[in-house]
Symmetry: C2
Subunit: 261 residues, 2 copies
């Protein structure tokens, strides 16, 4: 069997985006990563601040944000514009040939408006397909794709899409051609066995352990969809999935969680 080349897919969240210093430190480490790589970034507080500045009032339904047209425009401006291009320009300065994407660019990520009988969440998209052939061509040209959390429906409509899910879908699609490691960086050091102790990092979270901890409500709320994305990726061909702080992408003694089947 032919050995597939290695590919690292890294997702960073709002906590890294919101701090110029944290972002710069992360990008330095990311730029130093060898081999094929893809970066996926979330939004951070810039979208909320821009919306406030423009006098756009966020719409919520039972605590969940609705993406109406003004909010989608702000998401496109800040995620695909300000944040994505800042990251791209910074990576270029670090000799990484970064190229920023929404899902519309190169038809990279096609999605469909979320179907929900009870609530209309607005312009939110669930992923249908990934153009992994073009990703492959670009990686072979030493391009470093940088994805923001915007996709399209193929009919001219842009859609807001969860960045964790984008990272997972990209990792899965690319596992056809690559040996993929997927790294979720977030504000904690890993999946914790005690939510109040940031040092209680679970080193290896097997699916049976996850099921048990979910049952015991040790793992709950926002970690559940994140871990579902992880197991989904592992079940669909991704070689390894890690959750930890942005520091984990640098080899060293930083703790992190390996999510395993």
């Amino acid at each position: 069997m032919e050995n597939k080349p290695k590919l690292t897919v890294v997702k960073i969240g709002g906590n890294v985006i919101d701090s110029k210093t944290a972002l710069k430190a992360f990008l330095n480490d990311f730029a130093a990563l060898n081999g094929y790589k893809i970066l996926v970034h979330g939004g951070g507080k810039i979208a909320t601040k821009t919306a406030e500045g423009l006098g756009i009032i966020p719409v919520f339904h039972e605590g969940r944000r609705i993406t109406d047209t003004p909010m989608l425009d702000v998401a496109v401006m800040t995620y695909a514009g300000l944040i994505n291009k800042d990251i791209t320009a910074q990576l270029q300065a670090l000799q990484n040939n970064a190229l920023g994407f929404t899902g519309a660019d190169g038809n990279m990520i096609l999605s469909e408006k979320r179907k929900n009988v009870a609530i209309d969440f607005g312009w939110v998209g669930d992923i249908v397909s990934v153009n992994h052939e073009l990703v492959k061509v670009l990686l072979q040209q030493n391009v470093v794709p940088v994805f923001c959390a915007i996709t399209h429906n193929g009919n001219g409509q842009l859609l807001n899409t969860n960045a964790d899910t984008i990272a997972s879908a990209l990792a899965v699609a690319c596992s056809k051609d690559f040996d993929v490691n997927l790294l979720y960086c977030f504000e904690k050091k890993g999946v914790l066995s005690n939510a109040d102790d940031n040092d209680s990092v679970i080193k290896k979270l097997t699916f049976s352990k996850y099921s048990q901890l979910r049952e015991e409500k040790v793992i709950h709320s926002g970690m559940l969809p994140k871990l579902e994305n992880c197991y989904d990726a592992l079940n669909k061909g991704v070689s390894a999935v890690y959750i930890g702080s942005p520091k984990m992408i640098k080899k060293g003694d930083t703790p992190y969680t390996q999510v395993a089947l």
Copy 2:
């Protein structure tokens, strides 16, 4: 001698961007163009409106706008975010595999901050080089590159750059590998021999005729840098340059000006 494949570079300005109907009509015609093609778009009034909305006060020096940091951020948000991604998504719906670019993406257009001893124009960039090798790879993948008027300096700084000049620089760089036609679409039907008569289109504007009309002040102000870009392109290997209304990209009896040496 080997025949080079044909490439059409089309530049549209603010007048097309500012009208949803005009943009849709133009994109329909652009999408129907056969062969390799690149789209370059200007900004339009969305940037000014967004800046106003955010309470950013434009800075002028002797009638010329200064691009300070808040204005650059707005340009990146609107040009690279809102406008570029709207065009990209619309072209995808028209079965064109559009991919949006700033000059930072893929290191496509490297520029340097404008040097001016008298006035600091702020974050304005003059083009240094174009990554035509990556343009070629993408065109060969049937990708349709869509460029906005933002470049980078290679040190992490984004820069505002004239869209006419971007179109010209792309056309020149690609003329190494392609037989390039460059089309400047604007609000008039072409270069006019009488500024008050939109039907007085000069069909063929040779350099000697241009020099004469410039001398006679028939051609003046904003048309001068536009035409300098045209002759620069022709002198550096672009096969043909046209100026006219957006309708000229559709074969038909629409008048336009051919700029010729």
